[in-house]
Amino acid sequence: MPLIEIRDVSVAYGTPTRPVLDRVSLAIEEGEFVCLLGQTGCGKSTLLRLVLGAERPAAGRILVDGRVHHQPDRTRGYVPQKYSLFPDKTVLDNITFGPEVCEFGLAARLTPRFFRRRREFRRQAFEYLQRIGLEPSDAAKYPDQLSGGMQQRVAIAQALITRPRILLMDEAFSALDPGTRKGMQRLIRQLWKDTGATILFVTHNTHEALRLGTRVVVLAKEMPDSGSRVMLDLPVPEPCRDDDIPRLVRRLESASTSSDPLAPASALSEKW
């Protein structure tokens, strides 16, 4: 039985309703690393929210571990596209938030045992801080004192420290420079291999999708005003040979741009 099973899921927003996802079906096995590609606005973030249980589909079902979840919980970690850090907490407190709330309720936080345990959480948080390439001196900063890329990395550490079975990441590397991005890709690959987590990773970067994933799924619209569907579901050969990449990139990009709404506009601009 697949760990995540998305069955004929449709979603529509607004009045009059505009379809975003149209009968999307996808089965993801435990331990897979699925990269989700698609044009902006095609519903990738929406799909992640559905898997989290933060939203209900208009039609269809989403089974995680064989059952429907009606609210997010700690089995599915999440790195959202934005607003991912708690602005009122320091970097360190953001990272230790997960372990703290998992073990201690509101009242239990007043006991001495909590303060002893917290020292352990903090030590662990510093370890993660180092792994994502931040300085120990950044630990006391507040999120809005960090650059966008640093915030993304802290958000990843925050999600990783609770070791969720499923990790949903929404353009988690989009604000990183190529060097840091490579480092983070290696880190995620390593953590995925070590923990055996199942990862659903949204990205706009085709090369990144091929380098990271064991499988790449492309969402795209068939018509400009219809909902997105799964256009391509491509297992990535393991290991992915460098000379395979250009061919796969071409296949992926042609799938995701089959109904490019900007295409006529760009043709027009060529004429000018």
Binding site: R49, L52, A54, Q71, P72, D73, R74, R76, G77, Y78, P80, Q81, K82, Y83, S84, F86, P87, D88, K89, F97, G98, V101, C102, G105, L106, Y142, P143, D144, Q158, A159, T162, P164
Partner: protein, 285 residues
Amino acid sequence: MPAAFLLIHAKPSRAWSVLLSWTLFAAGIGAYFYVSHARHRDNPEDRVMPTIAQMARGMYNAALQPAEEDEATAPPDNFVQRFFGSMLWKDTRASARRFFYSMALLVPAVLLGLHMGLFPYAGSFFLRFILFFDKIVALSLLPILFIAFGIDELAKVMLIVIGVAPTIILDTFNLVRGVPAEQTVKAFTLGAGDFDVAYRVVLKQVMPRILNSIRLNLKSVMLFLFAGEMIASTDGLAFRIALLRRHMGMDVIIPYVLWVALLLFLVDLGMRRLNRMLHPWFRES
């Protein structure tokens, strides 16, 4: 001075800014004393615009002598004791007590707004009623309150709470609704429970804005406080101002008005400092 000194890009020097910011104060005080002096030249008995000496004497008496209504007690000799037995202190204490009772009652208002914003059932239950309640003119309830709660403290405190609490509840509700959904979703995925999310994630990040909203509503708190005191009270700053109006006691009324403004300014400043101290991460924007 550069040619564009009145335009958007003008950059007044620090000295100029400070000077300009005090100009209207100086002009106001100057104009008052000029007119007051002129009136006293015409009529030395003038009571409408007391001179600075009269006001100082009036305030000295207010701050060091007991109020008329309890003159009977023997005057203590110590300076500090005289202040604590004085009219000014008695009135300030009475008003401050009502003020702080009402502020304390705003805490449940904030919590109600938080729960309405987060828990859909609480929202459906309370929202419409509070929206309606918010539209009731609190002062029009005054007679009803006096009938229902009597004319003692409770009625006055209730007037303030009824006047201000709906605004605070609705403001908190809107602030809570404004917290991005990602924040609560993220907290749940990290293993937080509903109350962790309510108190450790949402309340903590809207708290500085709630404090600012309470600061903006200090004026309404004082408005309702003064209305209650002027109409039915035997002590308090507004009671005194209303009482002295009958004898044209402008030499005490004007210092009292300034004293109330100063107190309110200090409370506001204190809350701003507290806000900054408790929420160093908060950028006012």
